[in-house]
């Protein structure tokens, strides 16, 4: 029976009960057999608790993900998983590798800072395999209005028009070349 006292929790409970069982002011401080016997059920409970605790700790150790704590309080593997997500927008640098002719036009004009996929949509699939997933040519009536339709909240220096008055439903590309939209000096507004 005494070997269980090696266990720390048992020891704690035992000390507790030993102290509790000691008559106030009387008797010598020491573990008598009778005192121990009366606290036996407490020791049993303590041992049962200790076993449950150990099982809990073992199960816990088993289930913690291996990479947990590698960089901080999280699964280290999560970084790799998040890094490996698929890319949908190839990036203008990629587009420009093949479409350098467009780049040449664009970089001279007002739309030099507007990147390809902003108008043409996500083209990573197309960049990977130019044959498949050919980009659809956007409708300039809709496309240009997204940015250039007049709105009170737009910065004052940003070129904006009320498209209904400006073009009367005509597609913008009738007059403007989307990749370099300023009209040439000779083509200045008719009115």
């Amino acid at each position: 029976m005494l070997n269980v006292t090696d266990d720390f929790p048992v020891m704690t409970y035992f000390c507790l009960t030993y102290k509790a069982a000691r008559k106030p002011g009387g008797g010598l401080p020491g573990v008598s057999l009778a005192t121990f016997k009366d606290a036996e059920h407490i020791v049993r409970l303590a041992v049962a608790s200790a076993i449950v605790l150990v099982i809990f700790l073992l199960v816990r150790a088993h289930f913690i993900p291996k990479s947990f704590g590698q960089y901080g309080h999280y699964r280290g593997d999560a970084l790799a998983e998040l890094t490996a997500k698929p890319i949908h927008y190839a990036g203008h640098q990629t587009c420009e590798q093949c479409h350098s002719d467009v780049l040449d036009v664009k970089k001279m004009g007002k739309h030099a800072g507007v990147n390809c996929e902003g108008c043409h949509g996500p083209q990573a699939k197309h960049a990977e395999d130019p044959g498949a997933g050919k980009p659809v040519l956007p409708d300039t009536k809709v496309l240009c209005a997204r940015c250039h339709e007049a709105n009170l909240a737009k910065p004052k220096n940003f070129p904006q028009v009320v498209t209904a008055d400006h073009s009367g439903g005509e597609a913008c590309k009738t007059c403007h070349q989307p990749h370099s939209p300023l009209l040439a000096p000779g083509e200045k507004k008719k009115s």
């Binding site: 009960t17 016997k37 009366d38 606290a39 059920h41 407490i42 049993r44 409970l45």
Partner: protein
């Protein structure tokens, strides 16, 4: 449109449903019931003795149900044990699992076991069949009922109660901290939150034990011990006054400080939360019980009327505290963190987080309590024989 004014687009949907209202409500009842029980044990308030065991069993019944609303509310309930695997020490919520287990295993179960050990041993000898096996298992193989052994039980039980009081404070104070520590939400963000939660917990716990005690007396056709219920009502009044004082302090502080969130929150209280906060929580759930209980303290009121008053006050208190939890949890999500708009909370009747489930979770502790009372009768022995 489900909202007025401007909400951040992701805010329109409420994140914490009625289940998260049920959770602090249940935990509060646990903490409150236990603190009432410890009055007898630690502070030797003899008058409340008839409710001691009942209060312990009530605390256990509610404690067993308390984590269920959380579990049901999780987006991925199957991952809930991660709380035990990798608890994040900086998260107020991560400690829930540990505080809960500590309270369940080291406080409530231990105290009940020590308190009932004598009965368990006796029952394991007097019963037969499956029942006998169950009681024998509960004895842990020791049937020592000697004077010394019972004395050990008593002393250890006393120590457990002593540890239990701060543990009960911890359990519910920490639930308040979960809300009070969110600096993004001015409705929640106050250091008073844990204290308010604690005192409202005590109020609700005392009220529920009072109600359960009176109900069991009625069911068992036993005369209500008026000294006991009078004393409980007295304690209910005292804690209520502290609780109300704290809540008013919080309110006055907000009104006086009137920080950037004030207009938004003030408007919310006058419109969307008017019924649940001003009418239910403050007027019916707090002021009416305090005035009634106070009146009984000052003037002589006949026994029959007192009993009626206690039942009504108890019921109003429970409703008021539930409304308080609702106002904290749901109220804290009705306004935009931009302070420019308000959303609405629509609760379904039947869904995983619906009214039906919430009602079920509120009833379940009473069913557990009924079973518990059958297994471990909380009545004094002479009463048991008198009732049989």
């Amino acid at each position: 449109m489900p909202f007025d004014g401007f909400m951040y687009p992701n805010e329109v949907e409420l994140q914490w449903s009625v289940l998260i209202v049920v959770y602090p409500f249940l935990t509060g009842l646990v903490a409150g019931a236990f603190i009432l029980a410890s009055l007898e044990r630690i502070f030797h308030v003899e008058a409340v003795k008839p409710t001691y065991r009942l209060a312990l069993l009530t605390a256990l019944s509610f404690l067993l149900v308390a984590p269920l609303p959380l579990q049901l509310h999780l987006g991925r309930p199957e991952r809930s044990l991660e709380m035990y695997l990798t608890p994040h020490t900086s998260s107020a919520m991560a400690m829930f699992g540990f505080v809960y287990l500590w309270y369940l295993m080291a406080v409530i179960l231990l105290e009940i076991w020590l308190e009932y050990r004598k009965e368990i041993v006796l029952l394991s000898q007097s019963t037969t069949g499956l029942k006998r096996q169950m009681y024998r298992l509960l004895t842990l193989g020791s049937s020592n009922l000697s004077e010394g052994a019972l004395k050990v039980d008593d002393k250890v039980g006393w120590v457990v109660s002593l540890i239990g009081i701060p543990s009960a404070f911890l359990l519910h104070g920490y639930v308040g901290f979960i809300f009070g520590s969110i600096k993004a939400n001015p409705w929640w963000n106050t250091p008073l939150m844990p204290v308010v939660f604690l005192f409202s917990a005590m109020v609700s716990g005392i009220a529920i034990v009072l109600l359960i005690y009176m109900a069991t007396c009625k069911l068992r056709h036993i005369k209500i011990d008026m000294r006991c219920v009078d004393t409980i009502a007295q304690y209910l009044l005292y804690t209520f006054i502290i609780d109300f004082g704290l809540e008013m302090l919080d309110l006055i502080h907000r009104i006086y400080e009137a920080d950037e969130s004030f207009h938004s929150l003030n408007f919310m209280m006058q419109t969307k939360l008017f019924f649940s906060q001003v009418v239910l929580q403050i007027a019916l759930g707090t002021v009416v019980p305090i005035l009634t209980l106070g009146f009984i303290q000052i003037f002589h009121v006949p026994e029959k009327v007192r009993k009626l008053c206690y039942s009504i006050c108890g019921a109003l208190t429970i409703i008021g505290i539930f409304a308080m939890r609702w106002n904290v949890v749901i109220g804290g999500q009705l306004f935009s963190k931009s302070f420019l708009g308000y959303t609405t909370y629509k609760v379904d009747l039947i869904s995983r987080e619906g009214e039906l489930i919430a009602a079920g979770l509120l009833l379940l502790p009473f069913i557990i309590l009924a079973v518990m009372v059958k297994i471990l009768p909380p009545w004094p022995r002479d009463e048991v024989s008198a009732a049989d």
